[in-house]
């Protein structure tokens, strides 16, 4: 055990929105971590190139996107009825449906089921929703060991790491690091970093779990209201093992996962694999409805989790956030995510979707720096398979943060707030704006060097001059030039006359 403690990762990222530092602060150590940024850029480039190729070959890509966003909007419009329909169909097929209003409620239900099954270990399929409710540490503290079976999740669990991406959670870890973690935690003396050897090590580790642990926890990619079925897509087949071998299966699903009809999968599955991993079809698509006698898990529980989702549903602009099918394409396309990776977002949902989802799930109590963690370049919206206008939602959330700030005293100490209010006063009257330009020219004159450039500024300005110079203000604004010019022409006209 002492060896483990020795290797514990320092500066473990905090993925709890209530405790995480603001984005700009959390980003700093990551920006300095050249190894992590190298791993990240390489992995993203690979996925991006694959995605681009496969999207290009789909001539009806835009029509698919439109269809998918319509299907999701329809589902959200009728969410209550569809969930009840799902409950009825699933129950009829032998499943047990539970409703959880929040994370604590969901954790409690899961623990009770596991206690009833009398297990002290449970195997898990990669599920973001279980990370959202911080299930693993809770189970651990309650005496149940949750064992991840997704390769990337194993790497993180054994290496004491945190996910940095929703589809490829160990995106930031390279092969050498995986070798080190496996050798240390699986007690393998001579392990090469050949992918085949690493997979073999994971397979041996997993096989023993699959054959002995009698309960599993999964997430869900889709729920089908029409049939009461659950859909899980994955790449490795480890999920399929979890879904078929144990006697007890617990599925945790956000309420927004429901689709009206079985046929809707036709659209969704075409978009999901291409957007997520750059594949035409994901290798394993598991579909089941309740319990089948004598085949697969004989006890099936599904927990429908709200945890802030219905408050998002009530928002006019924010509602589209719930269309998300967790493909991760937005993070792969995002130039901000590319620089920092996922850990800066202080949540299990990183990247552009995290920047809008997390603060809304937290009902704006936490993660208020996230809506500002974007240059609004729009790359996320361009790639989103369900056409979530992420920049639009970011702007709406920024307005909510600002409106909150208007009520508090902190605004009097925020140079940004003061500056923007002052700028507003200026922009409301051209004469004031012009006076401010003249004043600015004098003030910035003190910082302008002989070459006409400003190399360093105090206060907020220092955040600009940290990496960029600023050209000094020109002697004449455009409107001053224009005034002089028209005066000139009028005089010339008079002269000619």
């Amino acid at each position: 055990m002492s060896a483990l403690a020795e290797h514990e990762v320092i500066d473990r990222p905090i993925l709890d929105p209530a405790l995480a530092p603001p984005f700009p602060v959390a980003a700093l150590p990551l920006l300095r971590n050249t190894q992590l940024r190298g791993n990240l850029a390489h992995a993203i480039d690979v996925i991006q190139a694959r995605r681009a190729r496969l999207v290009e070959e789909k001539t009806d890509w835009q029509a698919l996107r439109a269809a998918a966003s319509q299907i999701k909007d329809e589902a959200l419009e009728n969410l209550g009825a569809l969930l009840e329909q799902f409950e009825e169909r699933c129950t009829r097929a032998g499943g047990k449906v539970h409703w959880a209003a929040d994370a604590a409620g969901a954790r409690k239900i899961i623990l009770e089921i596991l206690r009833e099954a009398g297990v002290d270990q449970v195997i898990k399929i990669k599920t973001m929703t279980s990370a959202e409710i911080q299930l693993n540490p809770f189970l651990e503290a309650s005496g149940v060991h949750a064992c991840e079976t997704d390769l990337a999740e194993i790497i993180l669990q054994l290496g004491d790491g945190e996910p940095s991406h929703i589809v490829v959670p160990a995106l930031h870890v390279n092969r050498g690091q995986v070798r080190e973690i496996f050798a240390r935690r699986m007690g393998i003396e001579h392990l090469s970093d050949d992918p085949k050897a690493l997979t073999e090590a994971a397979r041996n580790y997993l096989r023993q779990k699959f054959l002995t642990v009698p309960a599993a926890i999964s997430g869900a990619n889709f729920l089908i209201a029409e049939t009461g079925s659950v859909v899980v897509v994955e790449s490795e087949g480890n999920g399929r093992m979890c879904l078929t071998l144990p006697q007890t299966l617990i599925t945790l699903a956000g309420i927004e996962k429901v689709l009206p009809r079985f046929n809707d999968l036709e659209v969704m599955l075409q978009l999901l694999a291409r957007s997520a991993t750059g594949e035409r079809m994901n290798p394993y698509t598991s579909l089941w409805t309740g319990v089948t006698r004598g085949d697969g898990p004989q006890r099936f529980h599904i927990i429908l989790l709200d945890n802030g989702r219905s408050s998002i549903l009530a928002r006019k602009t924010g509602r589209q956030t719930l269309r998300c099918i967790r493909c991760g394409a937005c993070m792969n396309a995002c130039p901000v995510y590319r620089q920092t990776g996922g850990h800066a977002y202080g949540s299990v949902y990183p990247g552009p979707i995290g920047a809008i989802l997390t603060p809304q799930l937290e009902q704006m109590r936490h993660a208020q720096s996230l809506p500002f963690a974007s240059s609004l370049c729009g790359a996320c919206y361009e790639v989103c398979p369900v056409r979530i206008n992420i920049p639009e939602v970011l702007l709406e959330l920024r307005a909510r943060v600002t409106d909150e700030e208007r009520k508090g005293l902190s605004r009097f100490f925020d140079p940004m707030y003061i500056g923007l209010r002052a700028a507003h006063a200026m922009f409301s009257r051209a004469r004031l704006f012009h006076a401010a330009q003249r004043a600015g020219r004098i003030a910035l004159g003190f910082f302008t060097r002989r070459d006409g450039w400003i190399h360093s500024l105090p206060g907020v300005g220092a955040k600009w001059t940290v990496s960029r110079d600023l050209r000094g203000l020109p002697k004449q604004t455009f409107h001053e030039w224009w005034q002089g010019r028209t005066r000139g022409t009028r005089e010339q006209r008079r002269y000619r006359a």
């Binding site: 920092t340 370049c377 790359a379 940004m416 200026m426 960029r468 600023l470 030039w481 224009w482």
Partner: protein, 250 residues
């Protein structure tokens, strides 16, 4: 044809040479240019920082100021994107239906510079000469919000003596993002460094764009690193002729 120039607040203050170039270019093409003295800002900075009420006031100011304009020309793609993408929503949300209708009438007459040249005037060859090696940075708003597409390349392609070098990763943001560049200075600088690598690799003499905000960002880093490359707004390239080369190349 009479065009009303909305210069934008930061071009007025920081890049008057861009405005002068637009005037010179349009007048050379036979367009009568007018400039309304009361103009200030389109509201983008406030809207993008969460100050929607303030942005609303500026948007209202702009719509009323140009209600009777034949065409409004704006040499800044992000400001045009602000007007096109955000004004309707602001007027709708902050409850001013008559204003929303007034805006709907104005909107089709608001042009980004390259749109005005190609779509409205129908010219690609503006008679410019600029004998330099140039690379073009597609600003995110020009690329995705306005979908300018090949317009800038068609214009640059007709400039005499200009050698165009295409940029790698042309759809990647330079990291400016308005107040983002200050609020998230560290990340913004990292994005800038990545972009600058691509830009410098072109070995061009000039990096041009249809948005001075990106150019201020890239140019600021070029100057900090004492790089030989300079930035120049495309209006200045298009205004430049054999007799009268572009003024004030920063």
């Amino acid at each position: 044809m009479r065009a009303s120039l909305f210069i934008t607040c930061y071009n007025d203050t920081l890049f008057p040479e861009t405005g002068r170039a637009v005037v010179r270019l349009l007048e050379r093409l036979g367009v009568e240019v007018e400039f309304r003295a009361g103009q200030t800002c389109c509201g983008q900075m406030h809207a993008n920082s969460g100050f929607r009420r303030e942005a609303f006031c500026q948007a209202r100011r702009l719509v009323r100021m140009y209600a009777d304009a034949e065409a409004v020309v704006i040499p800044s793609s992000s400001c045009v994107a602000m007007i096109r993408d955000q004004y309707s929503g602001l007027f709708e949300d902050l409850g001013d239906e008559p204003l929303r209708r007034e805006f709907a009438a104005l909107a089709p007459r608001v042009y980004e510079l390259s749109e005005f040249l190609i779509d409205k005037l129908g010219v690609e060859d503006v008679g410019a000469a600029f004998p330099h090696r140039v690379t073009y940075h597609a600003s995110c708003h020009g690329l995705r919000a306005l979908e300018l597409g090949e317009r800038p390349f068609r214009l640059l392609g007709k400039v005499r003596g200009l050698e165009l070098v295409r940029l790698e990763n042309p759809d990647r943001c330079c990291g400016f993002g308005g107040t983002f560049s200050v609020k998230n200075g560290g990340v913004s600088s990292a994005m800038l460094a990545a972009k600058l690598d691509d830009v410098l690799r072109t070995k061009a003499e000039f990096c041009t764009a249809l948005d001075n905000s990106c150019l201020m960002h890239l140019g600021g880093a070029m100057h900090r690193q004492s790089q030989g490359m300079k930035t120049i707004h495309m209006a200045q390239i298009l205004a430049s002729t054999e007799d009268q080369p572009a003024e004030s190349m920063q």
